[in-house]
């Protein structure tokens, strides 16, 4: 991934910033410039709280490029408390048995992977369990 692409997505990637449609209230993650529900172009930045719950997960033993050093790692689909779903790694899992749908999670800023040929280290958000 190039520098420009990294820069373009970093507000969403680093701060969990999305968009809210000022016409119909629809929420988007990542940032979008058009509301695909009502077609309005009037969207404002929206800050997601970072509170989330687990929908489903897996443990990755054969990693994608740039993630080899993390193996095995937990990866899943989570639903932000505002109702939007994202894919994310799940960290600080001391016991796999706690990973049940509905588990309360908090998005946290972490190093994502080992970076790319261009030498950009990918930082971003991961989910960690709130209590267990």
């Amino acid at each position: 991934m190039g520098v420009a692409r990294s820069w373009r997505t970093q507000k969403s990637r680093y701060r969990l910033t999305g968009s809210k449609c000022t016409k119909c209230g629809a929420l988007y993650f990542p940032i979008n410039i058009v509301c695909i529900k009502c077609t309005s172009l009037d969207l404002e930045e929206f800050q997601f709280s970072g509170k989330a719950k687990l929908i489903e997960w897996t443990r990755v033993d054969e990693a994608a490029k740039g993630f080899e050093h993390l193996v095995p790692y937990y990866f899943g689909i989570v639903e932000l408390e505002e109702g939007v779903r994202i894919s994310t790694q799940i960290v600080d899992v001391v016991d796999e048995n706690i990973l049940q749908p509905g588990l309360q999670l908090q998005m946290t800023f972490r190093k994502l992977g080992e970076g790319t040929e261009e030498g950009i280290i990918n930082y971003g958000l991961k989910a960690e369990p709130v209590d267990w």
């Binding site: 929908i55 489903e56 997960w57 990755v60 033993d61 994608a64 899943g76 994202i86 994502l112 992977g113």
Partner: protein, 388 residues
């Protein structure tokens, strides 16, 4: 689709699938193209358009403008172009070719699905290419692999419906068995449930044997309008329906993790427009890119009850002698998975079955046969229904 809009498959050609080390992509293409032409003594000048389905020539080989390249080396001078829709590339090419004939502007066209993947010797290159069909920003770059997303679907299906790990492994066992009866299959070895469960873990609960291996290969079909078809074949095989369904590209954007909604949409529309039901389908080729995908596919197609795909597989309902045989060719898993070629290879298996040329895999009394191809984790689905 009106009665006269059915399009005939008049000839087919297919390479072996596997490591075709000695051939360039143009060579692989030519083997399939010329088998289809020479079978019926069709002159290459008669082909009015060449639709090339290919997923990753750019990533695997640094080659684009593939339609022009393949046409050049095949000596075809008709319009030629590549269609890319990840794993559904071949099927989407087929659909556009069918539309070309239905439009009345063409009478004889060729669809070629082709992929050369084994050159990507590094596992990571291949992984990267496969993952390029996902949402790279918000899936791959968050740590997703193709296996991890199908693993999430498998977990959800097991949780929701009580599907067992052994039932999922039975998809692999069945498809390898079917492939062992298919002379053109890449993997003719039979496997046991235990071998699947002992293979290397990719993404829990999915293992290496749940996945498809890299493969080279090409498959081609010549399509004709109904009128022209009868001058080649007195009893042609027809594509009665070919529908494409949509779902969001990222798994997390979809409402259900245990259904291919685009597949369901395409299948229901095809059945409705044809005035049939899923019960009229005698056999199906489905996109088993991972074992669990076959289970979700046959449910989404309505061929088995929702949630019962694993149980149906375990009971033998989807075996060659079962009530609804699935992937008689061996599927992507057994026959091989040169991605862009798979959607066309499915049509060739159904053609052979309908013609009674499927050898030891032959299904009797076929009413209609269905093909299902997917891109990515199910964002693009194509469903075709064939018959006499």
């Amino acid at each position: 689709m009106g009665k006269n809009e059915k399009v005939a498959v008049i000839s087919t050609g297919m390479t072996e699938f596997g490591d075709l080390y000695e051939y360039e992509i143009t060579g692989i293409a030519n083997l399939a193209i010329y088998e289809a032409l020479n079978n019926l003594h069709i002159k290459k000048e008669e082909i009015e358009s060449l639709y090339v389905g290919n997923m990753g020539s750019h990533l695997f080989e640094g080659q684009e403008n593939l339609g022009n390249l393949i046409a050049t080396y095949a000596g075809l001078t008709c319009p030629a172009f590549k269609i890319q829709a990840a794993g559904a590339s071949g099927a989407v090419a087929l659909r556009n070719a069918v539309k070309g004939i239905q439009s009345g502007s063409k009478e004889l066209v060729m669809v070629l699905g082709v992929e050369k993947m084994t050159e990507a010797t590094k596992q990571h290159e291949a992984q990267l290419a496969l993952a390029s069909g996902l949402d790279t920003n918000w899936e791959t770059r968050m740590g997703a692999t193709l296996a991890s997303l199908f693993a999430i679907m498998a977990r959800a299906h097991m949780r929701e419906y009580g599907t067992t790990r052994e039932q999922i492994a039975n998809v692999v066992v069945k498809n390898h068995y079917n492939a062992s009866l298919n002379p053109k299959a890449q993997y003719k070895n039979r496997v046991r449930v235990e071998s699947v469960l002992r293979s290397k873990l990719l993404s829990d609960p999915l293992r290496l044997f749940d996945a498809c291996a890299l493969s080279d290969g090409a498959a081609s079909v010549v399509l004709a309008s109904e009128e022209v078809a009868y001058s080649y074949d007195s009893d042609p095989v027809f594509i009665y329906q070919i529908k494409q369904g949509f779902a969001p590209i990222a798994l997390h954007q979809r409402e259900s993790l245990t259904e291919f909604s685009g597949t369901k949409f395409a299948a229901e529309k095809a059945y409705r427009d044809m005035g049939i039901t899923a019960a009229d389908i005698s056999l199906a080729e489905v996109h088993d890119i991972f074992s669990i995908a076959e289970i979700i596919a046959i449910e989404s197609l309505g061929l088995v009850e929702k949630g019962k795909g694993g149980f149906a597989t375990e009971n033998g309902d989807t075996a060659l002698d079962g009530s609804i045989p699935i992937n008689t060719s061996g599927g992507l898993k057994g026959r091989g998975a040169p991605l862009g070629a798979t959607g066309v290879a499915q049509i060739i298996e159904l053609f052979d079955q309908i013609k009674g040329n499927a050898g030891d895999r032959q299904i009797k009394d076929i009413k209609y046969a269905l093909a299902h191809s997917m891109g990515g984790t199910g964002g693009t689905s194509v469903v075709s229904i064939l018959g006499r």
